[in-house]
Every structure is written in structure tokens, then in C-alpha cells.
Amino acid sequence: MNNGPLLFLGLFVTMACSWLSFVMGPQLQMGDMRPTTNIVVGASGQIYPHPEPGTAHQGAEVYRANGCAACHTQQVRPRDLGSDIDRGWGVRRSTAYDYLYDQPVMLGSQRVGPDLANVGKRMDTISILLHLYEPRTITTNSIMPPFPFLFEKRKIQGVPSADALRLPAPFTPTPGYEIVPRPAALSLAAYVASLHQDGYLFEAPPPLRAPGGTNTPASAPAPAAAPTNSPAK
């Protein structure tokens, strides 16, 4: 193997294999993915997913800027590969459709904190804001760092602001002061509250049989052809 050009050719071919498998192949298959109509009950509306409202999209930018994905994942694994569904982190596994409108897609790779794929169903905006300001108001022993820089501590001018956080003791601010979320906090909370992966899809159907049962019922032989469109409800 003393020939330089041959060496480069070999490297090119091996690199191309990997590129084809993980970049080009998936891109050819899923590059033009559009919202699906293959919904199996439960989703509100005829297509999935729906684009987020504006504030939520800005919130994604705050999520990105502060590296929230360093501790939180946004992907639900199927029952066989983890306890995600049993923990109530989602009703079904995540699929490619769930991230169609995300830019960037922040799936995360560590669960220092819980998975957030469906956190919008578990927490509302107020509790999210409280959690951001001081996580221990919601989770007693939380190791999540507080984000006080997303909030403003200001003197109460006459009447307290409508937005001001209602903090429990011992986190209440000094008397005469209130904690008001900045726009970044509000949009981040809107984003986090918008996180949910609704409905069952063709690729992630609901459990037809009780968990643990793997036998098909007597009446179900393999269907004749692989359907690509089930009738949308």
C-alpha cells in the first residue's frame, strides 16, 4: 500500500460508504418528509405535526442558546427499549414526524434531567416559569441550576405586575420586590409548554393488546399488502 493516489481512493470509498449510510441514504428517504395524514386516532386535526406558534419558536432559540439539550432529551423510546412510556413521558415512541418543524433538532443525549418530549402535557407555563427561576420550588432536591438571569427583580411600583412569579417561601423576594419573567423566559416557557407528541401514527401505533401480550388475536392474519395510507379519521 505504497501508492498515494490508491490510498486516497481507498479512503474515499470507505468514507463514501459511511456517508451513504448515514447522510445520503436517510436524506434520500426522508429528506422531503411532509406532515403525515397517517394518523390513528387521538391527534387533534387531520395532519401531524402542526407548526409551533411564534413565541414557542423563539423559545426554541433560548433553549438552544442555554444548552438545555446538555441535560434533557426530547425523545421517547419504545416500550422494549426503555421505561419512557411506563414513566408517563409519552404515550408512544417518538418518530421522525415529531421533529419535522424543529430547527435545530435538539434531541439531546443525556438524561441528567427528565425527558421533555411531552412535558407540555405535564407542566403548564406558570410551573415552568417557577421551575426556571428556582427549580427547587417544583422539585425539592433538584440539581437543575436556576436561571435567574432570565428574570428581573424589580421594585413593586404600586400594584404587583400580572406576570410576577408567585414564589413559595423561602424563595420569595425581599418585601417590596417582585420577580418578573423577561421576554426570553416567557418565550422559553411557551416553547417548553408546547412540547408534546400527540396521537398515534402508523409508524407508532397504539398498543392493541395489553402490555406483555405478544400473540395476535385469532382473527388477525397478516394483511395482504402493506398499506401506506390508512383512512384518516
Binding site: 428517504q29 426522508m30 390513528v40 386516532v41 387521538g42 419504545p78 416500550r79 422494549d80 427499549l81 404515550v91 415512541r93 418518530t95 421522525a96 398515534y200 402508523f202 409508524e203 407508532a204 401505533p205 397504539p206 392493541l208 395476535t216 388477525a220 397478516a222 394483511p223 402493506a226 398499506p227 401506506t228 390508512s230 383512512p231 379519521k233
Partner: protein, 201 residues
């Protein structure tokens, strides 16, 4: 620890390394072959035919299709279960048996199993308050209305689910039947006497 490896007083480094022409041991070739064999078997079973619709743990598109509900009835039941799991289990419990001081049972309840669903449609839409007799036992609790939370289709689905689970067997509920109950209207929650006045249909 000395920094220099050579004891050569002229301080010449060793020559550049060379590689010897020893052939690859046969056991490594065998291991390679075995692993390639395993790899292609693995891909046969776990690559879903390279179909973009197949996600773990399913192995083929056919399997995914077989896991999908096959009829509209199936889908309706799943929708109803979805609603029930999210909303009704808090009080009526996941096993439908209810709980003392919280909610009456749905399993075997004569209200649920009535030939027509209009009475329970009213309950679901408008809520219930005051004393009511279920399976020979007196209950006096309050149920909130759901007419503003769910549409006719979802209420019909959850009623169908309740009427056909845990051993209950009754006719499915159609969205039109719920719509009719909604049209009849009612101010405030229902009460048992008012419900009994409604003819079953």
C-alpha cells in the same frame, strides 16, 4: 525516569520503524467472517427492510401494519380509551370500579349498560350532582361537565369504550347520539330524578 532511550553517545535516534511481513492470523480472518455473517443476519432481522416506516422494535412494515387497528371500531375504541385514560381514570379508576367517596363504578352499572346511551351522554356532557343509585348502592357526589372540553366524537368514543370494556357489553355510541343529547341542552349538572325522566334512547 530517564528521558532518552538510547545509550548511544552520539545521541542518534533509532531508525524509523519498519513493519515485518507477517501474515494475518487465520483466527482473525475467521472472526471477521463470523462477524460479517452475524451482521447480515442482524440486518435481515432488525433493519426493517430499509423501510422508513419501520421503527424499532418492529421488524417489517407488515408487522407495523398488523399492529395498527384494522377497523373503524377498533380506532374508535382506542380513541375512547385515550380519553378515558387521560380524563376519567382520576375518579372512576383505570379498572372502572370507581372508589368510595370519589366516583361510582362503571363496571356492570345499569346506567352504562342501558340499551340507549342518551342518559350517560347527558351525564358526560353536563355532569351530575346529588344522590344517585348505582348497582343498588347510593352515591352522593359531584361530577364536572365535559361538554366544553370534548366534542361529540370524543364523548361518543369514551362512552363506547366504557360500554365495551371490563366485561361490559353494549351497543357502541354514535357521535350523532351525543349531538342529540347536546342539543337537548341542560343548565347546570344533571340530577338522578331528571335523568330518570329521560326516556332511554
Amino acid at each position: 525516569m530517564s528521558q532518552n532511550v538510547t545509550n548511544n553517545p552520539a545521541n542518534r535516534d533509532n531508525d524509523e520503524p519498519r513493519a515485518v511481513d507477517v501474515t494475518v492470523p487465520i483466527w482473525l480472518v475467521l472472526v471477521f467472517g463470523l462477524l460479517c455473517y452475524w451482521g447480515q443476519l442482524y440486518l435481515c432481522n432488525h433493519a426493517g427492510g430499509f423501510d422508513k416506516q419501520v421503527y424499532a422494535p418492529y421488524q417489517t412494515v407488515d408487522e407495523v401494519a398488523s399492529m395498527n387497528p384494522k377497523s373503524d371500531t377498533d380506532k374508535f375504541m382506542i380513541m375512547g380509551k385515550d380519553v378515558f385514560d387521560k380524563t376519567c381514570t382520576a375518579c372512576h379508576q383505570p379498572n372502572g370500579l370507581g372508589k368510595e367517596g370519589i366516583a361510582p363504578p362503571l363496571v356492570g352499572s345499569e346506567w352504562v349498560l342501558a340499551p340507549g346511551p342518551n342518559r350517560i351522554a347527558h351525564v358526560a356532557l353536563y355532569g351530575l350532582t346529588g344522590p344517585i343509585s348505582v348497582k343498588g348502592k347510593e352515591w352522593n357526589l359531584t361530577m364536572v361537565p365535559w361538554k366544553d372540553t370534548f366534542d361529540d366524537e370524543h364523548i361518543a368514543a369514551v362512552l363506547t369504550y366504557v360500554r365495551n370494556t371490563w366485561g361490559n357489553k353494549a351497543s357502541p355510541v354514535k357521535p350523532e347520539q351525543v349531538a342529540a343529547a347536546r342539543k337537548e341542552g341542560h343548565s347546570g349538572p344533571e340530577t338522578s330524578p331528571e335523568l330518570l325522566k329521560l326516556p332511554v334512547q
